[in-house]
């Protein structure tokens, strides 16, 4: 059976995650060989995921880690007072 574009789109996410079954995977690959549109959609979606995984995309606020560990240090210190009795 030949897949149409719409059908391929429905599976793009699973295809990227490699959770699509072997038969569908094969059909998708066959389709991608001749369909520029679907190849482009696949590539752009993958690019978005590459960008998502890039640490610079979702940066932490400057000083986040320092402030966190400072607050944690206080918490650890104060929690010690009651747990030392056990």
């Amino acid at each position: 059976m030949k897949l149409d574009c719409k059908h391929v789109w429905e599976h793009i996410s699973e295809y990227i995650d490699k959770t699509v079954d072997a038969k569908t995977r094969e059909e998708i690959e066959l389709h991608l060989e001749h369909c520029e549109i679907c190849s482009a959609i696949l590539d752009s979606t993958r690019n978005i995921l590459v960008l998502t995984a890039d640490d610079r995309t979702f940066e932490l606020p400057v000083g986040y880690s320092e402030r966190l560990h400072e607050r944690l240090a206080k918490e650890l210190e104060s929690s010690g007072k009651d747990s030392e009795e056990e």
Binding site: K6, W9, E10, I12, S13, E14, I16, T19, C35, E36, I37, S39, A40, I41, D43, S44, T45, N47, I48, L49, V50, L51, T52, A53, D54, R56, T57, F58, L60, P61, Y64, S65, R67, L68, H69, R71, L72, A73, E75, L76, S79, G80, S83, E84
Partner: protein
């Protein structure tokens, strides 16, 4: 990563046995993730940071209740999500009660946007600051149920099972929501990708 799990289990026992200072070390690999989880719910840097601190302190206070049957990261994510939801409820007031009430009913458009000059999406384009900025905005603007799954799967890289555990939804819902989230982002970002794409001459094209 089995070694991580083993190291973690050892760290946790030592912390519980009194070497509290090791909690800094335990949490360090996850502090980014906790922040992102809070950001995905609260969509604002200051609130996300406050919430992240609170969630991490809570995880320390309740560390003894971590049983080790789930991964530490999943357990921590659940705490972070709860903290985020609590803050969101507080901010929204009692009127709009729970974000759990959201269903799959969004009549969104989950089909991707076709590109024609795609071969010209250069890797350098991904280096551009505007594109990263656009992605941040697009993620922040996803409907909550899609954003949460996207953040856990594609940003924090939890697997389907872990995501479904953390959010309390089944794995089918994780897959569907992830797919929709990705397609919505693809659609939103295509114009950015396109503007960097000079037309390619003589390249086979078909109408969408």
């Amino acid at each position: 990563m089995r070694t991580t799990d083993t190291n973690e289990a050892a760290l946790i026992s030592r912390i519980l046995a009194g070497e509290k200072e090791l909690f800094h070390e335990l949490i360090r690999p996850y502090e980014h993730m906790v922040y992102l989880t809070l950001f995905s719910i609260l969509k604002n840097d200051t609130d996300a940071e406050d919430g992240a601190q609170e969630a991490i302190i809570n995880s320390y206070r309740h560390l003894a209740s971590f049983r080790g049957d789930a991964k530490f990261s999943t357990w921590l994510t659940t705490i972070a999500l709860n903290e985020g939801r609590k803050r969101l409820r507080k901010a929204k007031g009692a009127a709009e009660d729970s974000i759990e009430a959201e269903t799959e009913a969004h009549e969104g458009d989950y089909t991707p946007a076709p590109l024609t000059d795609w071969r010209e999406i250069p890797l350098e384009a991904l280096e551009r600051k505007e594109l990263r900025e656009a992605l941040r905005t697009a993620v922040a603007e996803l409907p909550d149920i899609y954003r949460q799954v996207f953040v856990l799967r594609d940003m924090e890289e939890l697997n389907i099972e872990e995501t479904s555990q953390a959010l309390g939804i089944n794995s089918g819902a994780v897959k569907v929501r992830l797919h929709r989230a990705r397609m919505m982002l693809q659609k939103r970002l295509v114009p950015f990708l396109k503007t960097t794409a000079p037309a390619r001459k003589g390249f086979f094209r078909r109408a969408p």
